[in-house]
């Protein structure tokens, strides 16, 4: 059965990359490890100190950060989109092992021990960009289900499908570890209904009595917490509510695989699985790259990028511009010219209302109405994507939101 959910935009194009094997990129000139805004960062290295792959670099927001390459630590550098720890690679891949592989029976480990391990191993979730231990922290009220989100961040992407196909055992193993940690009774592997190879890969490794089951979702984007909760559990999340508030831990497929791999190998999460696609790149690929690899290095590896072509991070629907490097929340880069559509008057087709995941009528922003709608908007961009009249609904809602903030003194938002 295909699970449906309200809102979202059904894409017309299908990904060409789900069939491409993951390539490993190790030869990068430098890595830039992003320091999240307002996060307390305590660096454990001096400038120009030599580091190995796996060396401790800093404690950022309570989560240890390790060097994904061997080379020379350059210190904290401010760039346009924030601060970074920069390490210039010597391309030798010297490795330092801090932790021993987990030899204890995983079934004997409890919540605290597993949470401590994932914290020490620096495992982050690419859906939210948050460290996994922080997501687990939110489950203090108890956890009923663990969901591995194996969907893509955009219709053109194929990296999640590749992770599921090539690292199927790791994804299932990671979900089982999280089930053990949280005492949840069932794990769910959620993926797009059209991804038949993903389904085949999972079904090959899942027994009839397995606590982990598959959930095939309707192909619509974005797949956020709200969409997954609605599709799988028919639960409607409130405006400021997360899946964790309802006792459901949702992690990305990459994160689930990292839990299994890192605990088994004792190596921290040093690499990220990302995709680089679009017309603006010589060839698109699914890649395993060191954390913090620059967009420039990846583009060079893939044969170069068309000049002045903008690069978007994760999704064209949302249209967020990519930063300079791979961060904790990077799932894909898409180099593509921005599609422009001439604005024409609203025809009232209702497509925006149908696409809105939070049941708004985005076209109301045209007439200056809908202050409540503006506050509730999650900015997914689905309404503007489907609008046949090319109305810049997202920016109009943002303006409405700003005006509402002014009217209310800004404290409500």
């Amino acid at each position: 059965m295909i699970l449906k959910f309200p809102g979202g935009a059904a894409p017309e194009q299908k990904s060409q990359y789900a069939g491409k094997r993951i390539e490993e990129l190790t030869d990068c000139s430098a890595v830039c490890l992003k320091i999240p805004e307002n996060a307390e960062a305590r660096c454990g290295l001096r400038e120009n100190e030599t580091v190995d792959r796996g060396s401790f670099v800093a404690l950022v927001g309570g989560t240890p950060v390790y060097s994904p390459v061997s080379g020379l630590f350059q210190g904290r550098v401010s760039m346009n989109d924030g601060d970074y720890y920069v390490i210039v690679s010597d391309r030798r891949l010297r490795e330092q092992r801090i932790f021993e592989p987990e030899t204890r029976d995983l079934r004997s480990l409890g919540f605290a021990e597993i949470q401590k391990s994932v914290r020490e191993l620096g495992i982050t979730d690419s859906r939210s960009g948050l460290p996994l231990w922080k997501l687990m922290e939110r489950l203090r009220g108890g956890c009923r289900r663990v969901v591995a989100d194996c969907t893509e961040s955009d219709a053109v992407c194929g990296i999640s499908a590749r992770i599921c196909i090539e690292k199927c055992v790791s994804v299932i193993g990671g979900v089982k570890i999280l089930l053990r940690a949280t005492s949840a009774s069932r794990g769910v592997l959620a993926f797009e209904a059209g991804k038949t190879r993903v389904r085949e890969a999972f079904e090959k490794h899942l027994g009839a009595d397995s606590p982990v089951v598959c959930a095939r979702l309707q192909e619509k984007y974005p797949y956020n917490d709200r969409a997954l909760m609605n599709a799988i559990y028919l639960a409607e999340l409130g405006r400021n509510e997360t899946a964790a508030d309802r006792g459901v831990l949702i992690v990305s497929a990459e994160c689930a695989a990292a839990v299994y791999d890192c605990m088994a190998s004792g190596m921290p999460m040093l690499d990220r699985y990302i995709g680089f696609y679009g017309d603006g790149i010589a060839r698109g690929a699914n890649l395993k790259v060191p954390c913090g690899t620059t967009v420039h290095d990846i583009a060079e590896y893939l044969g170069g990028r068309a000049r002045k072509t903008p690069v978007f991070e994760n999704s064209l629907l949302n249209g967020a511009p990519a930063g300079g490097a791979v961060t904790a929340s990077t799932r894909a880069f898409i180099a593509q010219e921005k599609q422009k559509r001439r604005r024409t008057p609203c025809i009232g087709c209702g497509a925006c209302a149908a696409a809105c995941p939070v049941k708004l009528i985005p076209a109301e922003a045209l007439g200056g109405a809908g202050a409540e709608a503006a506050r509730a908007c999650i900015g997914c961009g689905a309404c503007e994507y489907v609008c046949p009249s090319g109305i810049p609904l997202v920016s109009m809602i943002n303006k409405r939101r700003a005006r509402a903030a002014e009217e209310k003194g800004g404290d409500e938002l």
Partner: protein, 328 residues
């Protein structure tokens, strides 16, 4: 804070208008067969003047930029305006209808919603101003000259017949039976007679997810139930039920006017409620004023009330209080 999408779906204003035109195509083809080439002249004049007048309004009144002065929806509105006329109408009628259509097209509520459905407004205005001409129906397959500016009165009288709605005003049902009405061998305005063709067009519309099938169904079902519950004094009930549904542009309204997004509520519940109220009012109107085509006026009233219905029936945003959601 979000940024703007870097991609758009393939649906454009042109593709949406094309869907509506494709839905109207069976009606147009059937009407040409039934009423002759004069249908093409009337439709071409209406569509052409809709484009021309709207271009001038956009350019000189609204000072619209060059790219948005030509709206593909003018073809839809112009065609619908012509389809709501009798074939014997003089050739100045579609020009005037186009003027009414363009005027209504450019009256907006809060810069977003259109106040009145353009072609329904045009039909209502023409019916008010030229009631005799607009209710002068001729029998099917009586072809008039396609290019006669005004058709000779004597010729019209020779072929003049009562429409099914006019029959029903006298307390009886259409004497030729239901099948000719369903297929489209009856008299009436150009577009209202071809029930089968209208239904074929609606299938295309709903397949393309244009319009709300529930609203259309509610309207038809309610008319059906009301006609069955309150039959005419000496009419056979089943004949009366279908006769009511097939006469007086009822199906045209159900398929096209109730699914005009710019003048009807955008949310499904709002459309269903408006459709239900329209069905009740049209039926009541017919009972109170037999023979008077009140459908156009009911639709215009529904158009004007739509923003308020939409506001009342807006789905609650998850996580907000009921009161706050309604205050908007």
């Amino acid at each position: 804070m979000s940024v703007m999408p870097a991609a758009h779906s393939g649906e454009t204003r042109l593709s949406k208008a094309s869907d509506r035109l494709i839905a109207l195509l069976p009606v147009l083809i059937w009407s040409v067969y039934i009423f002759g080439a004069r249908v093409i002249t009337l439709c071409a004049l209406s569509v052409g003047f809709c484009f021309g007048l709207d271009y001038f309004v956009q350019r000189y009144a609204f000072r619209a930029p060059a790219g948005v002065r030509t709206d593909p929806y003018n073809a839809v509105y112009g065609l619908c305006a012509a389809l709501l006329m009798p074939v014997a109408a003089p050739l100045w009628a579609p020009v005037l209808a186009a003027a009414f259509t363009v005027a209504a097209k450019n009256i907006h509520y809060r810069d977003t919603r259109r106040v009145f459905n353009p072609y329904i407004f045009s039909a209502a205005a023409m019916n008010l101003l030229f009631r005799g001409m607009m209710t002068c129906y001729t029998r099917p397959l009586a072809y008039f000259n396609a290019f006669s500016f005004v058709i000779d009165g004597g010729l019209i009288e020779k072929y003049r017949v009562l429409s099914p709605l006019q029959y029903m005003a006298g307390g009886s049902v259409y004497e030729d039976g239901l099948l000719p009405q369903f297929i489209g061998f009856s008299q009436g305005t150009i577009g209202e007679i071809a029930i089968l063709a209208l239904m074929l067009g609606s299938v295309w519309m709903f397949l393309r997810r244009d319009g709300n099938v529930l609203g259309t169904f509610t309207f038809c079902a309610l008319i059906f139930v009301l006609a069955y519950a309150f039959p005419s004094k000496d009419a056979e009930p089943v004949y009366y039920v279908f006769g009511t549904l097939f006469s007086g542009a009822m199906i045209f309204i159900a398929v096209h006017a109730l699914n005009d997004g710019a003048t009807m509520p955008m949310n499904s519940l709002g459309r269903v409620i408006v459709a239900a109220v329209c069905a009740v009012l049209i039926f009541a109107g017919r009972k109170i004023f037999p023979g008077f085509e009140c459908g156009y006026y009911v639709i215009l009233a529904a158009n004007a009330a739509s923003p308020f219905v939409e506001k009342l029936t807006r789905p609650r945003v998850p996580g907000t209080k009921k009161k706050a959601a309604k205050s908007g």
